[in-house]
């Protein structure tokens, strides 16, 4: 089965090829390059599935493909390489599947709507997919960083696709700058990893998580350089630096502000960004180097707390939004908060599981929203919709499946994964890490808000009486919209069945397939190893209320109960023929939520005062000291030049005299040195 891995580079290169094709000859291709993109992502999907089958048969692949810079002696090498293990194989399938469906959906959303600039659009999608796939298979941190940056660039290109309007370019710049701010710390972290370990490989004997583990266990500590800190302190610092990039890309507090604005991009792009590519990249990175984070209880605690806080924080903002895509944007931030919570709480499998189910149901919801937006002639305001249920049944039923999954209602996929996330946080919190309990409480509370805003969105959009003429007679959508929705709708329902932990605990049946999937693979990259690490170095123990079974059931019942309560409240308030804005009763709280807790204003204020003053100081230093030194040196040259040039008289005799004098001086000098005159 080694054959599958020989074709792994093609998974990345195919979408890149479609990018080149769309960019070069897209104008003369049918559908503006869409077909090339569909063929390429379809090919990637097939190859990914093949690679996944190979992994399922016990194969793994960790190979350096190309060394593009090699130092001499004992210094490090900069390489490109491929790492395909169960985690990467699963992610490859998710990314290529969603990219494929997004390409198909784009036929309906972009081509059929008569958009211009289609080659540019498909080129962007191709490059986006290629960068994310490259990121997924990267076998070292530097390569991951490079593709991470490419992903950021593509998001800029695609969010700002409608660059002639005012808002999209500004949103694109914001997305790029905010994530870039986080990536700055990531870059410093990459350098720190190289400086400390001399390698950035994720897997293998000499990889940096393995070296760090050995150092903490007291073996081979001489090989690494911790700059005078205790190893664990230094690993925490390095981990937090890399985490900066994760917080930016995965839109965690406080760098989440770019994501809601990114809704200015075309809706299929939103689906791609939020479900499978850019935002997932951050969480995937933490999962990829989990062996490193598991060594530092401080870093894990911060990840868990930031995750739990973001989950709650974003969920509250989603409650009051008027536009369908805005609600989805905040739900994305919130759901990625859950994944971070799970990672921080030692729930590596739970986070991966939620990453997978979320990819399916969030892509579904975004594409469903795209279908609604087509029908509504690009009006996104939910208060102008209503009653679309009878008029677009396929969209309604699939969207409903996605919403049930998002809200975490039994037995849809989101329930299983979110339940496992909360269970991990609770169990490890009870086991003696009280901070996790605080994060768990925030995550649990967010479940209620999630249920509420999700069903507020569903009822406002699809139920009740149509509130505008457009909603009474919506634009129809074609097969290319319905087919991706159906595929994802089925997945949103069934994806959770791969890992039904509560049922397994209850019945004793062995149906935790994802646990088995992630438990094998390369040595040091398995979930069991991570469990040992968090237990040994972060002191994570599992504690229970009563027995393990009661804890599982209690956790599941609590989250399901809260989700149902939220959904029920939404049902009572909004599932009426003519709903009104009940959130108005929140008064000033609504204003606060509607303005996103004034986070944007706060960041602008921060930029205006702190950053601007620092910049002004730096400018003074640059203009005064740096330029002063440079100008000083040049003025010395200028002055001496203006004096010395006077020997250039233009009279040949003078030159001859100078020549003669020089010769005489030279002879005298040589003579004196050689001792002729003594």
């Amino acid at each position: 089965m080694a054959g599958a891995f020989d074709y792994t580079p093609a998974i990345v290169l195919l979408p890149f090829l479609s990018f080149l094709l769309a960019l070069g000859v897209g104008r003369s291709m049918p559908k503006g390059g869409a077909l090339a993109g569909i063929a390429a992502t379809g090919g990637s999907l097939l190859l990914s599935v093949w690679a996944m089958l190979a992994v399922a048969n016990g194969g793994t692949y960790n190979q350096t493909i190309y060394t593009w810079a090699a130092g001499t002696g004992n210094s490090f090498e900069l390489t490109f390489g491929l790492l395909v293990d169960p985690l990467a194989a699963m992610m490859l399938v998710i990314v290529s599947l969603i990219a494929f469906l997004v390409h198909v959906f784009s036929l309906g959303y972009m081509n059929d709507e008569g958009e211009t600039g289609l080659p540019r659009y498909y080129a962007g999608l191709g490059l986006f997919t290629a960068s994310m796939l490259g990121f997924v298979v990267a076998n070292n941190l530097l390569m991951a960083f490079m593709f991470f940056e490419l992903v950021g660039l593509c998001s800029w290109l695609l969010i700002g696709f409608w660059f002639r309007e005012e808002a999209p370019p500004s949103a694109a710049k914001k997305a790029f700058l905010v994530t870039r701010f986080g990536d700055y710390f990531f870059l410093v972290g990459v350098v720190a990893v190289f400086a400390t370990f001399g390698t950035a490989a994720f897997a293998g004997e000499g990889s940096f998580p393995a070296l760090a583990e050995a150092a903490l266990a007291g073996e081979a500590a001489t090989e690494i350089n911790t700059f005078g800190f205790a190893p664990q302190t230094w690993f925490t610092v390095v981990g937090l630096l890399v985490l900066g990039g994760v917080v930016g890309k995965s839109a965690q507090f406080p760098l989440h502000t770019w994501l809601p604005d990114a809704m200015e991009g075309p809706t299929p792009v939103s689906a791609l960004i939020h479900a499978a590519t850019m935002v997932a990249a951050g969480v995937y990175l933490v999962a990829r180097m989990y062996g490193f984070y598991a060594l530092s209880p401080t870093a894990l605690g911060i990840i868990a707390f930031v995750g739990g806080f973001t989950a709650l924080f974003a969920a509250t903002m989603g409650v009051v939004k008027r536009e369908i895509k805005q609600v989805l944007a905040y739900s994305t931030i919130s759901q990625y908060g859950y994944m971070m919570l799970a990672l921080g709480a030692g729930g590596y499998i739970a986070a991966t599981f939620h990453l997978m189910t979320h990819a399916f149901f969030k892509a579904l919801l975004f594409l469903g929203a795209g279908s609604v937006i087509i029908a509504m002639h690009h009006n996104e305001n939910m208060w102008d919709m209503g009653g679309l249920k009878e008029r677009m049944p396929v969209t309604y039923w699939t969207f409903l499946a996605g919403s049930l999954a998002l809200a975490g209602i039994f037995p849809f996929s989101g329930f299983w994964s979110k339940d496992e996330v909360l269970y991990e946080a609770l169990a490890h919190g009870l086991g003696g890490t009280p901070l996790l309990l605080a994060a768990w409480a925030m995550g649990l509370l967010a479940v209620f808000f999630t249920g509420f805003y999700t069903f507020r969105m569903v009822f406002l959009t699809f139920h009740g009486e149509p509130r505008t003429d457009v909603a009474r007679d919506p634009h129809g959508v074609g097969w290319n919209v319905k087919a991706p929705l159906t595929v994802l709708g089925v997945l949103a329902v069934v994806a959770g069945f791969v890992n039904m932990v509560p049922v397994a605990k209850l019945t004793g049946a062995h149906i935790e397939f994802l646990h088995d999937w992630l438990a094998h693979g390369l040595g040091g990259l398995t979930s069991e190893h991570y469990g040992e690490l968090t237990g040994q170095f972060a002191g994570y123990e599992t504690g229970y209320v009563g027995s393990e079974l009661t804890t599982v059931l209690l956790s599941g019942a609590l989250s399901l109960g809260l989700a149902l309560a939220g959904a029920g409240l939404a049902y009572k308030l909004y599932n009426v023929p003519a709903p009104v804005e009940h959130t108005d009763r929140l008064g000033s709280v609504k204003t606060l939520l509607f303005n996103n807790y004034y986070q944007d204003e706060y960041q602008v204020w921060l930029a205006d005062t702190a950053a601007r003053n620092v910049a002004r100081g730096a400018d003074k230093f640059d203009q005064g000291v740096i330029d002063g030194v440079v100008n000083g040196i040049s003025s010395v040259s200028l002055f001496s030049g203006s004096r010395v040039r006077r020997i250039q008289t233009g009279v040949v005799s003078n030159y001859a005299a100078l020549l003669t004098l020089g010769l005489v001086a030279l002879l005298l000098g040589i003579g004196l040195m050689g001792g002729w005159f003594l």
Partner: protein, 100 residues
């Protein structure tokens, strides 16, 4: 046989006369003549040492120098012609446009 140092003294004297000409004369033609004197001072040295060591290489070199001197004169006279055309004079101290 006349000892080599006499030849060297003769050569040094000729060279100094040529150098003096270059440093003091204004006429470009006299420059050329002075350069010719200096070249031939070098030739005297070549021949003297050739005689001293009984080796014909020095004489061969003297022949080369003469050919080179002829070529130099051809170019030098060309330059002087152009100088004259541009400045209506062969006085080298008048042609001072290539200066700072």
């Amino acid at each position: 046989m006349v000892p080599a140092q006499w030849y060297l003294m003769l050569s040094a004297a000729i060279f100094c006369i040529g150098l003096f000409g270059i440093l003091t004369r204004r006429n470009a033609l006299l420059f050329l003549m002075s350069v010719e004197l200096m070249l031939n001072a070098a030739n005297v040295n070549f021949i003297a040492f050739s005689l001293q060591w009984g080796n014909v290489t020095g004489q061969t070199f003297a022949l080369f120098t003469m050919a080179l001197a002829a070529a130099e004169v051809a170019i030098g006279i060309g330059i002087i012609l152009v100088l004259y055309r541009n400045f209506r004079d062969t006085d080298v101290t008048k042609a001072t446009t290539m200066r700072w």
